[in-house]
Structures are given as C-alpha cells and as structure tokens.
C-alpha cells in the first residue's frame, strides 16, 4: 500500500528534473528529451489521480498526452533537423541570431 | 428654431471633413486644390455665421442642441450644442481657417493636397471639441485634433520638425490620457457621458466616492488642459512646435488649439468640480502668474521671431487661466475675451511671421532690421497687430486683459498686482522686437529688395486687423453672448462663497 502522495511526489520530481534539463542542457535534442521527461511526470500524476477519483478519464488523458507527444516528437525533430541544416549545430547556445 | 438649427452644428463640424474627403478625389492640380480648400473653409465660415445670428443671447443654457444616441452599450450620445462660451470659439475656428488657406497659398507648394486635407480635418476636430457636449465625444474630438496637427508640424515644418512634432504629440497625448481616465471614472459612477447629466449628478451629490475621487478627477482634467494651454511648467512643447510648424499650423495652434485647454478648464474643471476648482485655485493662479511674467521675460530674449510669439502666447494664456480661476464675472468674461482676441491677434502675428519667412527663410530677428523701408504695408500691419497684442485700448487685447486683471484683483489683490506687471512686459518684448525687425537702417542687403505683401496675404491679413479693431471698439457684441454662460458657470461659486461665508 503506497500512499498516493508518493506517486505525486515522484511525478513532481520527474517534472522538476525535466525543467532542470531544459535549463541546463545545451543540445537541442536533449532539451527536447527533457520536455518528454516533464510530460512523463505529468502522466504519472494523471494516473495517480485517476486512482484517487476512480475515474478512468485520467488514463484516457494520458493516452491523449502520448499521442500529442508523438506528434510533437515528429514535428519537433523535423524542426531540429531544419535548424541543423541551416545552422550546422545543435547547441542551443549558438542558436541565437534572434535577440534584443 | 427652424429645422436648420438642430443640424447646423453637425453641418459646421463636418463640412470641412467632408471637404477633406472630397479633396482626396480632386486631381493633383495644386491651384484647384487651393481654391477648393478655400471654398470649403469659406462655406464652413458662412454656415457658422448662422450661429451668432440666431443665438439667443439672453439664455444661459446650450442652444442648437442635437442629441442622438450613438453607441448604446456605454451610453454614448452624439450630443452637440453651444453656449455663449463655445459659440465664439467655433466662430474663431471658422474665421481663422480660410485665412490659413490663404496664407498657405504660396508657401505650401509641395504635397499641397495632403496639406489642405490635414488642415480641413484639423478644423473639424477643433470645432468638434467646442461643440461636443458628451464627454466621450469631446475626448474623441480632442484626440482627433492631435494627428493632423502633429502631421502638419512634422511633415510641412522646418528643420527640427520631427523633434517638435513628436514632442507636441507625446506631451499632449500623455496629458490627455489622464483626462480619459477621469472621464471613464465619471462614466463608471454616473452611467453617462453626457455633460449636463454628469454635472447634475455631481451637483446633486449622488455620485458615490466622489468626495475621495474629486481631487484626482479635477487633476486628471486639469493636467490635460494645462499642457494644452500651456501652463508653466509644462509649456516647453509650444515654442518648439511653433517654430517648426508651417504658418497655417502655427496660426491654428496658437489661435485655436491652445484655447481647447482654457475652454476645457472653463467648461469641465469649473463646470464639474467647482469646489475643487476653488481649493486648487491658489496654486493654479500662481502658475498662471508665473506664466505671464516668465513667458514675457523669456519672449523678450528670444532671438527667433516665432519663438518670441510663442512665448508671448504662454504669457497671454496665463492671463486667461488667471481670469478663469479668479471666479469673478470680470475674470471669466475677460478670459473668454482674451481667448478670442489672442486667437485673432496671435494668429495674425504668426501669419505675419510666415510672410517674412517665406521671403527670407529664417525667423532670426538678427537677420532682419529696417524692414519698414522695403515693406511699408507689411510693417504697418505688423505694428497694428503688435499693438493689439500688447493690449492697446480700443484694440482687442485690451478688453480681455483689463477684465481679467480686474477680476484677478477682486479675487486676490496681490494676484492683480503681480499679473498687471504683465502689461509692462508685453510692451517690452513686443516693441523691442518690432524695433529690431522694422526700425533702423536695413542691415542686410538682401532685405532691401523684399517684396511687400501680395494680394493673398493682404486678403488674409485685413480681416484680422478689422476684427482686432472691431473687438476692441464693440466688445459688447461678443460679451453679450458670453455673459449668461459665464454667469451660469459662476453660479455654483457664488453659492460656495456664500456657504463659506456662513
């Protein structure tokens, strides 16, 4: 028997790791992975809450999140490829033509 | 009241705008455009002559009213009407605009079409400000004057026109949003934008939170008006704007635009917040007096003709503000009269400055000297207007100045004393300027062959001269209509005074 809050805290930690990754990673792809990490964290919350309320729509929501994540991944990676083509780098610190 | 009376104000207001729209369609033949613009402005003038003709001078309330719902949801009405105060300001506008067209006949030769479109649009805005009785409508026109004026300065002006235009725009824009806030507050609390409704509501005391908000509302309106007037110390946009503006722009700027501020004070600050006006009068009067003396002294040392006139406007408008905040019949009548007189005479002064600029392309006084020799007619007109401006009796400047000073004196003796020194200063700077420009020998060879006034210029200048004289000799023609309006504006003040006395 695990308290639900444990799951929630785990999810919060994963989410925070994702945010941290976004902040500290330089490689665009890794940053994108951090976003996926955040989504995973959220998903865990959904499932946990679904248990809390005995409501399956939490799980359905996770399903939709995954679909969205998949779509995002497709588009995101395509964008990353396009960036790489024009800039020949994946370092986000160097993708800074647009500023001020 | 015939059928025309209810629509006449709309007609007068929008004839110039309609003319401007038509002007868009007129082919780019400069002469046609000029003639057309002149025709439109004369039409507006002719229409506006209907007003004094049918105006009931013994009535205090608004006349020629037109009140149609415009936007229902915020209760905005298309409400126009005039009383003795706005009547003459409307006429002043329609009087000056044809002269502006005439004086720009030659001096504007590039982008003529745009120029006259802007001029006519400006006229609509100015008239609208004076006839609007709905606070919203008023603000609407108030802001609407800003763009044409800024463009006139910025596009058709002289060297530092951009700086001047931006300064003008921002100064007045920033100030006027405070008024907007105040208007909105009033609407939020009274549910109406209608001037008389709001006024009745405030006087009835049924506006919640009024006691706490009144000082701020007063200030909101006042800031907007003070910048427009312009009152010391928010006057510095004026010299720049004037120096850079084309002649017609200066004429309307000094002649009418500045009056929007004093008109606003008279109508809104006094009309809506009598108690606050009374409380704030001391410092406002001090600012006005500082303006009178300061404006005159700074005018005295200006090396630039137009700047000098601009600073003189600051000085003159100081009289107006002082008169308004003296809360005496004489003061208010006088303030109104100075507004008109200043409109005519300073308008004429700017036209005259424009005449010489057109010939010499400079406003530097040091570039002139001895102009009376090559340009006798010009110098005569100039002298006449200078005399009108410095308040020579029997010319228009004197009447207002006398009334204002007497009113100020009655309000507080020392106000009168300090402000009256203004008559010395105005003589100093105007006559000194006149001497430097016109007297003595011609010091610059190129001035020897300057041509005197041409026909357009004469036609533009004569009316101002005649008007200056007429206003000085027969001011009752004007004061008759002004007095009832002033009395009704002052009514709450006498009550206030009585209450204070008790």
């Amino acid at each position: 028997m695990v308290p639900l809050s444990y799951y929630l805290i785990l999810s919060a930690i994963l989410f925070a790791c994702g945010v941290t990754g976004f902040l500290i990673k330089r490689n665009i792809i890794t940053i994108f992975m951090s976003i996926e990490l955040m989504l995973n964290g959220v998903n865990l919350s959904f499932v946990a809450f679904a248990v809390r309320w005995h409501n399956l729509s939490g799980q359905v929501f996770v399903f939709f999140v995954m679909v969205v994540a998949a779509a995002e991944a497709a588009v995101g990676l395509a964008i990353i490829i396009a960036v790489f083509r024009t800039r020949e780098t994946l370092n986000i610190d160097q993708v800074n033509l647009l500023k001020l | 009241m015939n059928g025309l009376d209810s629509a006449i104000l709309t007609l007068i207001t929008f004839v110039p705008a309609a003319g401007a729209l038509l002007l868009v369609l007129v082919p780019r033949r400069d002469r046609d455009i000029r003639v057309f613009a002149l025709g439109i402005s004369l039409l507006a003038l002719a229409l506006s002559l209907h007003l004094p003709d049918h105006f009931h001078r013994d009535q205090a309330g608004f006349q020629f009213e037109q009140n149609v719902p415009w936007i229902p949801a915020p209760n905005i009405h298309y409400h126009m009407g005039i009383d003795g105060i706005s009547l003459w300001l409307v006429l002043l506008t329609t009087f000056l605009t044809p002269l502006c067209v005439l004086i720009s006949w030659r001096s504007i030769h590039e982008r003529v079409k745009e120029f006259f479109i802007l001029l006519l649009l400006l006229e609509t805005g100015l008239i609208g400000v004076f006839v609007a009785l709905d606070l919203f409508l008023f603000y609407f026109f108030w802001e609407a004057t800003l763009i044409p004026m800024a463009l006139l300065i910025g596009v058709f002006g002289h060297e530092r026109r951009v700086y001047a235009a931006v300064k003008f725009f921002l100064y007045t824009m920033i100030a006027s949003v405070f008024m907007l806030a105040a208007i909105l507050w009033l609407y939020a609390k009274t549910g109406s934008f209608d001037f008389t409704t709001v006024q009745t509501a405030i006087r009835g005391g049924g506006v919640e939170g009024m006691a706490a908000a009144a000082p701020w509302l007063f200030l909101g309106f006042f800031i907007a008006f003070a910048v427009k007037v312009p009152l010391f110390p928010v006057h510095t946009w004026l010299p720049d704007a004037h120096v850079e503006a084309p002649t017609a722009g200066s004429v309307l700027l000094a002649g009418v635009l500045l009056k929007m501020g004093t008109y606003g004070m008279l109508r809104f600050n006094l009309g809506l917040f009598p108690e606050q006006s009374r409380l704030n009068a001391p410092w406002i009067a001090i600012l006005a007096m500082v303006g009178i003396i300061y404006g005159a002294l700074v005018a005295m040392v200006q090396p630039n003709l137009k700047k000098l006139i601009a600073y003189s406007s600051i000085s003159h408008l100081g009289f107006v503000v002082l008169g308004i905040f003296s809360f005496t019949s004489a003061g208010l009548n006088g303030a109104m009269f100075i507004m008109l007189a200043h409109g005519v005479s300073t308008g004429a002064l700017f036209m005259l400055a424009g005449v010489i600029y057109e010939r010499r392309h400079t406003y530097q006084i040091s570039q002139f000297g001895g102009l009376a020799t090559p340009m006798p007619a010009y110098s005569t007109f100039f002298l006449f207007i200078v005399l009108a401006s410095l308040g020579l009796p029997l010319l228009n400047g004197f009447i207002g100045e006398f009334l204002v000073l007497s009113g100020a004196f009655q309000a507080r003796t020392w106000w009168g004393v300090i402000a009256t020194t203004g008559v010395i200063w105005s003589a100093c700077y105007l006559l000194w300027m006149y001497q430097r420009v016109f007297f003595g020998a011609v010091t610059h060879a190129e001035n020897l062959s300057l041509r005197d006034l041409d026909l357009h210029e004469r036609v533009a200048l004569w009316p101002t001269a005649v008007m200056a004289l007429a206003m000085g000799v027969a001011p009752l023609l004007w004061l008759n209509a002004i007095a009832p309006a002033v009395d009704s504006t002052l009514a709450p003040f006498t009550q206030l005074a009585r209450r204070v006395a008790r």
Binding site: V2, S5, I9, C17, T20, N43, M66, A71, L77, I81 | -
Partner: protein, 173 residues
C-alpha cells in the same frame, strides 16, 4: 509491502534515469536514460492498475518516440555536448526557481493532497473500458487527434524534406 518495495525500486530507478539524463553529455546516453525512466514508469503504471497506459507507454513512448529520437541523433550525428556558457539567467534565476518550485509543489502535495492510499491495481484500466470512453465520451477529442497527427506528418514533411532550392543552387554553382 511488496507494493512499496516495487514502487520505491522503480521510483529510484526512474529518478536515477532522469538525473542521468541530465548528467550525460552525449545525447545517446541521455536518450537511453530516458528509456529507462519510461520503462520504470510503465511499471509504476502497472502498479496502479493502468495496464493499458503501461502498454502504450512501452509501445509508443519507449518504443516509437525514443526510436525516433535515437534515429535523429544518429542522423544528425550529434556529438557530445559542448560546455558553452550561454546563459547566466538559467543558472541565476532558473535553477533556484526550479528548486523553489519543486519544494513548493512537493510540500503542497504532501500537506494538502488527500490521504488516499493505492493498492496494487487500484483502478484497473482494461482496454475495453478505455475504448468505451474513447469512442463515446471522448469521441470528439479522439477524432480530432487525427488532425493533430495529420499536421505532424505535414510538418515533418515540410520541415525535414531536403530543401529543393538548396540543391538547385548547388547544381547551378
């Protein structure tokens, strides 16, 4: 007890994977760490009874999406991360922000979340039930996802396709 042990084990594993993702400098290592996280989460889902979600997690996430990631990493031949110092703000504001955020959220969850307890398979989510929901109440979102996917395909095609004009210019030159 077993539940707790399993939960803790996979919780630690997933956090370790997440941290490893942050620590690793090579994208491939990060991607593999992420797979670990996802796998552990799938177990956690199972523990909560969400069988369908767990399955989809493994198939879609760990399977499809991560493969895509790895594929792109290989395609672009992404090397190790350079240690550039592009952003002070991220360190000065972001990291403290994240720490504060985590603390606040965790505190709120602990203090104020309901004291529910979950048994193993507390809320079974068999595919049939899920399907019932998807094709009934969530019919519209479900259908709409098709547009989402369509967009994604289009986007991928547009953006990842080799730019013709570049080729043209290469040919011309």
């Amino acid at each position: 007890m077993l539940h707790m042990i399993l939960f803790l084990a996979f919780a630690v594993l997933s956090v370790a994977g997440a941290v490893n993702l942050l620590i690793q400098r090579h994208p491939i290592s990060s991607a593999l760490s992420l797979v670990v996280v996802m796998g552990s989460l799938a177990v956690e889902y199972l523990l909560l009874g969400a069988e369908f979600v767990a399955a989809v997690q493994v198939i879609v996430y760990a399977g499809a999406i991560m493969v895509l990631f790895v594929f792109v990493i290989m395609l672009l031949n992404a090397g190790e991360e350079e240690r550039t110092h592009g952003s002070r703000v991220a360190w000065l504001l972001g990291i403290p922000g994240v720490l504060a955020l985590t603390v606040i959220i965790c505190w709120a969850l602990v203090e104020h979340s309901m004291a529910g307890v979950a048994a193993i398979g507390a809320l079974p989510g068999p595919p049939a039930d899920i399907a019932e929901l998807l094709f009934h109440e969530f019919l519209l979102p479900f259908e709409v996802t098709s547009i989402l996917v369509l967009i994604a395909i289009m986007g991928a095609v547009v953006l990842a396709a080799r730019p013709e004009s570049v080729e043209q210019t290469k040919k011309e030159s």
